[in-house]
């Protein structure tokens, strides 16, 4: 009986949490038009959030491109298909690795930063001060960051893929000696801008929404203590990562289930 009661309480607790998060998201969306009227804040956030993640995204993209080219070359050359290297690298990056790895890095870099920033604003009573000055913190603080995150992540994912392809080119063409013309031309003929690049961008957009909403929610709802902020930043990474991986499977199944 105790187990049943415990399970019921846990379920109610979870539902309450989900409801609360959904309301938070709805309120933030409602604040978007008001935040667009403060457009300079939105631009500042796109710059701040995107810029914060630039170095890690480019470094990771380059490293992934290097490794991908090496691994794929050895695998493909077994079957005499090394000329497909450019295509495999490109599709892997624009469809999967670009959006997913960028989003995971984004959650760890910009997401935690957003959570800590909002959490510390709350701990320092800046959010309460804003409310008491009749300024809606959702419109003034959260919505510009939401837009910033949603705009920045697809750009970062595109950059990740571009740098990754350049990295793969360096390894494949310059180091291994794969034919450069073949490396590029197979991409031009086989990669579809809507089906491959477009769907990759849609994924990055969805992940941008997930990462930013999770980060802002965790920051806004954190307990205003050092432990609370530390716990919230950890939760941002864990929850965002699980959501990204889960949603990636669903989106991939929806987008690429037919050849």
């Amino acid at each position: 009986m105790n187990l049943l009661v415990g399970l019921g309480a846990w379920t109610l607790d979870q539902l309450r949490g989900w409801g609360h998060a959904a309301l938070f998201f709805a309120e933030m969306l409602r604040a978007v038009p008001a935040s667009l009227r403060r457009f300079s804040l939105v631009v500042a956030q796109i710059y701040a959030i995107g810029n914060r993640s630039l170095v890690i995204i480019m470094a990771s993209g380059l490293a992934v491109g290097f490794v991908l080219a090496l691994q794929m070359y050895y695998a493909l050359s077994i079957y005499g298909a090394a000329e497909s290297l450019g295509l495999i690298v490109n599709l892997s990056l624009v469809r999967e690795l670009g959006p997913v790895v960028s989003a995971l890095l984004f959650a760890g870099r910009a997401g935690t930063s957003l959570t800590a920033e909002i959490g510390l604003m709350k701990a320092g009573e800046q959010i309460s001060a804003m409310e008491l000055m009749a300024v809606d913190p959702k419109a003034r603080v959260l919505a510009p960051r939401l837009i910033g995150g949603i705009v920045a992540l697809p750009l970062l994912a595109a950059l990740f893929s571009a740098v990754g392809i350049m990295g793969a080119w360096v390894v494949a063409v310059k180091l291994i000696g794969v034919d450069a013309g073949n490396f590029w031309s197979i991409m031009q003929t086989q990669v579809d801008v809507w089906r491959d690049v477009g769907n990759g961008m849609i994924k990055a957009f969805v992940f941008g929404v997930i990462c930013t909403v999770v980060a802002l929610y965790q920051g806004y709802e954190t307990q205003a203590t050092p432990e609370g902020v530390a716990y919230a930043t950890t939760r941002t990474v864990v929850i965002s990562s699980l959501w990204i991986l889960g949603m990636d499977f669903i989106l991939t199944a929806l987008m690429f289930s037919t050849p």
């Binding site: 800046q126 309460s128 001060a129 409310e131 008491l132 000055m133 009749a134």
Partner: protein, 270 residues
């Protein structure tokens, strides 16, 4: 509107963040218009919670909180924001926006709520900063100002829109004697010059008594121990009031948190 009406009124208000553990229980209070009222009491007696209820940050579990004769309804956001635009609050640690300069912090409410031209915003901000003695610090970053200065910047921000009600949450906490004297003088002067209603939450008896027109002494669960003029409280014969205003460590308010007998805790008693 009759000016004799209290500006803020608590009518049988009960409140607890967890409704089973009330911080304020059935409290009824009136704060007179245009006066400086000090709300004194020990830590955790619900002083700051009173201010939060007035600001509509939380809703009372029971009873009504009235602002200038109007019920504060936390569910009606537009009414709440309209009411909040008539008040200014000084937070205990200033709550300044750390990403903005001193100037921009004071300009914040003006930029959010008015469409004044930049030149006028500048003049108003400098006037407010001048009133708190920090005109010269306008360009400093928040990380460059001391605790006492931060409190004064926050005060300049709180009065930027000339509010009808100014609430001060522990304005003297952590200040040196000079800063404390400056803060007390500012609160009194601002009230006299602007005619605003001021509520000062503090446990600094001496400073509060020196600047207040009316004093309310609270105990746990917001129980009102005494209220009246500073002189009435200072000369009170009530043991609890005397203990608080004289700062005696033991009396009706016990020094020790409730505990078993000392002998029993040390195993000296069977």
């Amino acid at each position: 509107m009759e000016t004799t009406l209290p500006f803020i009124e608590f009518d049988h208000v009960s409140f607890g963040y967890d409704p089973s553990r009330l911080i304020l229980e059935d409290i009824s209070l009136k704060f007179p218009r245009g006066k400086v009222t000090a709300i004194l009491g020990g830590s955790g007696c619900g002083k700051t919670t009173l201010l939060r209820l007035i600001g509509g940050v939380h809703a009372a579990n029971k009873g009504r909180v009235m602002f200038d004769g109007e019920l504060i309804n936390t569910r009606n956001k537009s009414q709440l924001f309209k009411m909040r635009s008539r008040l200014g609050m000084l937070f205990q640690f200033g709550a300044l926006f750390t990403d903005l300069s001193v100037f921009e912090n004071v300009a914040f409410p003006l930029r959010e709520h008015t469409k004044l031209p930049q030149a006028m915003v500048r003049d108003i901000v400098l006037m407010k900063l001048n009133a708190v003695g920090l005109r010269g610090a306008a360009d400093l970053r928040i990380s460059e100002v001391s605790g006492g200065m931060a409190r004064r910047v926050a005060l300049a921000r709180a009065i930027a829109l000339d509010p009808e009600l100014i609430m001060y949450d522990e304005p003297f906490a952590g200040l040196d004697l000079i800063s404390m004297g400056v803060a007390a003088k500012l609160i009194r002067t601002l009230n006299d010059v602007t005619g605003a209603t001021s509520l000062v939450v503090s446990h600094d008896v001496r400073e509060c008594m020196s600047i207040s027109d009316h004093v309310v002494l609270l105990a746990n669960q917001g129980r009102i121990v005494a209220q009246g003029t500073p002189d009435e409280l200072m000369n009170s014969t009530d043991p609890e009031t005397r203990q608080f205003v004289r700062g005696e460590p033991d009396g009706p308010v016990k020094f020790h948190y409730p505990a078993p007998e000392l002998a029993a805790d040390f195993g000296l008693k069977a």
